[in-house]
Amino acid sequence: MTATTVGYREYGRPRWQRILLTREMAIVGLLLLTLLVAGLAIPYFADRLTVYNLLRDMFATLIIALPMALVMITGDIDISVGSMVGLSCSVLGLLFSMGVPFELSMVLVLLMGAAGGLLNGALVAKIGLPALAVTIGTMALFRGIAVGLLGTSTVTGFPQGWTDLTKYEIGYTGIPFIIVVFLVLFAVFVYLLNFTPFGRGIYALGLNSEAAVFSGVNRDRTRIILFVLAGTMSALGGIYWTLLRGTARGDIGDGLELQVIAAVVLGGVSVFGGIGALYGVVAGVLLIGALSSALRLVGVTAEVIKIITGVLLIGSVVAASMITSFQNRRKKVTAAPSQTSVAEPAPSGE
């Protein structure tokens, strides 16, 4: 066994730079800072109950942000997730009230979520429609069906065994049991994105879909799978909200897509695709959650939190754009030919 005597340096920068000088680390840092400041300045913030509520409130956003990050890294977007949450809630309540066994109802709702995702994916990949347009349509369609099915009524009386599941705590840490579910899902998605060829293909599609196809990545299949995952996780989120609240209504999840997208973008995923990491996304969700909790404790209403989420979304996108253009300006000195020209026809020579 010989060490490579003549070989390439694996990395251009030392390890600490590679890990610390990233957008994701900046958000993690911001999160820790927020937790610290809030913990010190706001009474009851560092309390077990606060953590408990925070994580329970953020669960749906957490699990939906995972596939949403993948969808956005590919360069697509899905703004129908909030509506799918509502639809899942609605259908779950409906099935249950019709007497369908609860466990079966949950499975059916998950399948429905997958089907909704499949609709999105098929329209985007096979028919070639822009993801934004499709998901605007399905956002309306899913929400419309959700509201239409249940109307103004609600369903209650779900089996205690299941609703209690959302309440259990791990020992006295204040961490709800369902976080275990999230951690499992997180592990799965991290594996998918970072340790499989499929995941590499996701980054490739986001950076240069043409080259990705030329390297054998199946563009259609990848995009469809990701939309299906987004739909399924949204359905799971809807099931969760139903169990958490104990009631099923058609208007649950309104505005969730904002929260998810804001968290994903905050967490370092580029709106143009190709860049991002899951731990940053999780930090983004927790940051929004921590800010919401802190503000709520201080007496600020939910609307302000929505405003702040919107500001965070815009702020992170604008900041990312400014950073990129600043970096590009520095690089222009050594820019190779085709990068600077706009309408580059098939080159006839240099």
Partner: protein
């Protein structure tokens, strides 16, 4: 005779341009006279495109003088050069597909009546007059979507005239044109010349150059070679000036044992792109697909690899039929594909070298269901070393490498898949001379090792130097199959510019 008469419209002298380590233009020189159609010829990499881009205002030149009608000029944008009267017609025009022909021509400067209201009638009348002047028939009200490239070019020319362009540069305009369309374009060009404008015509097609142009400037390896009047020269002389060096200067081709048939293509057809393509490639063989730009060679290659579909015919690899339309299936069967557009199709510029090199072999690197950066780097090390890629580290972004090194990365990516057949489209385009011979050497060695190679190239010396057999294509069909002995610049060029029946006669 036009050379030397009166004040030149445009003059370039001693112009150079480099991008980091890459010298795109070493010494550019050009003098365009009004009332002249001036051809600029040269191989790929000769510097013609860079010259055009400098004239168009896309690039700023590093050195040299640039004079327009005797006055020195400095363009910092395409808008400035347009305002000064320079118009460029590219191979693939960029128009607004949803807008009408008339709107395309006048976008941004529509004639305006009172209240700032666009005078549609006046605009339309002017377009009709332009069309009449050019002698063409295009409905001014139809959207430009779906117009042939030829018509789109005419629209670009109409735009240029309405802007009163003094200099019209046409960059390989006939590549995608049929015979009739070429005639129409030439008629237009001649009438523009007679109006006193200066035209520049870049082309690989000598018959067109000799029929249309009165002056020819030859460039080679980024430098000016010479300018001659068309009626005082001949094709062989031009070719000699273009190629300059002897074919033997290329790395001498190694004798490779020719084995069994690896790739078999029969009757491949896609209407509008290629028809009835049949050929074989054997192990150890280098088969070149030669022909002019637009002949359909890359289209055939992409169809074989599965990126593009085909409507008829079949492809067999190592005896097994290859399903159409699936690059993954092609890769699985053992085909590697180095595409023509390295930057857009061959590499992910934003990704690191290691990521790019392992882009095609991910499936093989999986251990226990998991692929790790470590495994990728190990594989990348091996192949980057094998091809002597010059990079500071494995995670350096591929976009920062020189053209030659980028090509090596693409090659490494595909060689890592250990293919049975390697398709290379323009192996040495945009690469410096030193790396060129490295690539050629590597290709020869691979052939010796038993790889079957299908090479597409527009560079005659490369075709003649590397290929065991040359298949010449023209307008979507194979017009000739020449053995190494039979292939000469003349026979290849003849087959590239004439129909199959004429060639075999």
């Amino acid at each position: 005779m036009v050379i030397g008469s009166g004040t030149p419209m445009l003059e370039l002298r001693g112009v150079s341009k480099r991008f980091g380590a890459v010298v795109a233009l070493r010494d550019g020189e050009l003098t365009l006279h009004p009332g002249s159609i001036h051809a600029v010829v040269g191989e790929n990499g000769a510097g013609k495109s860079t010259l055009v881009k400098i004239m168009a205002g896309l690039y700023a030149r590093d050195t040299g003088e640039f004079k327009l009608e005797g006055q020195p000029v400095e363009f910092r944008s395409t808008a400035e050069s347009k305002a000064a009267g320079i118009a460029v017609i590219y191979q693939e025009p960029t128009l607004f597909p949803d807008l009408s022909v008339t709107e395309n021509i006048f976008m941004g400067r529509q004639p305006v009546a009172r209240f700032g209201m666009i005078d549609r009638a006046a605009m339309r009348a002017e377009v009709i007059e332009l069309m009449t002047r050019l002698g063409v028939t295009i409905d001014p009200d139809r959207p430009t979507q779906g117009l042939s490239i030829a018509d789109q070019q005419i629209i670009e020319i109409a735009k240029a005239i309405s802007l009163d362009a003094k200099v019209l540069i046409m960059d390989e305009p006939t590549a995608a044109l049929s015979g009739v369309e070429v005639d129409r374009l030439f008629a237009v060009a001649r009438s523009l010349r007679d109006e006193g404008r200066a035209l520049m015509f870049i082309s690989h097609r000598f018959d067109e150059v000799f029929s249309l142009c009165d002056t020819i400037t030859v460039m080679r390896d980024g430098s000016y070679v010479s300018t001659v009047a068309t009626d005082q020269t001949s094709v062989p002389e031009i070719v000699r000036m273009m190629v300059g060096r002897d074919v033997n200067e290329l790395f001498p081709k190694l004798e490779a044992p020719i084995g069994d048939v690896v790739l078999q293509v029969r009757g491949l057809t896609f209407p509008g792109r290629f028809a009835d393509i049949s050929f074989d490639v054997r192990a150890g063989e280098i088969v070149a697909l030669a022909g002019l730009v637009g002949a359909g060679r890359s289209e055939v290659a992409r169809a074989v690899f599965g990126v593009d579909p085909y409507t008829a015919g079949e492809v067999t690899l190592k005896g097994a039929p290859l399903p159409a339309g699936s690059p993954a299936a092609a890769m699985q069967a053992g085909i590697g594909f180095v595409p023509e557009d390295r930057r857009q199709q061959g590499l992910v510029l934003e990704s690191g070298v290691a990521t790019n090199i392992t882009d095609a072999i991910r499936g093989d690197l999986v251990r226990g269901g998991v692929i790790t950066r470590k495994a990728e780097n190990a594989a990348a090390q091996e192949w980057a070393l094998a091809l002597e890629v010059k990079a500071a580290a494995l995670d350096v972004k591929a976009g920062t490498l020189s053209g030659g090194n980028q090509q090596k990365v693409v090659l490494a990516k595909w060689l890592a898949t250990r293919p049975a057949l390697l398709i290379i489209d323009e192996p040495t385009r945009g690469i410096d001379v030193g790396t060129k011979s490295e690539v050629h050497r590597r290709m020869s060695e691979l052939a010796v090792e038993g790889l079957a190679i299908l090479m597409i190239s527009s560079e005659l010396p490369e075709v003649l130097g590397m290929a065991d057999r040359v298949l010449v294509m023209r307008e979507g069909r194979i017009t000739a199959e020449l053995s190494r002995a039979e292939a000469t610049p003349e026979t290849v060029m003849f087959a590239a510019t004439h129909a199959a029946e004429e060639v075999s006669a």
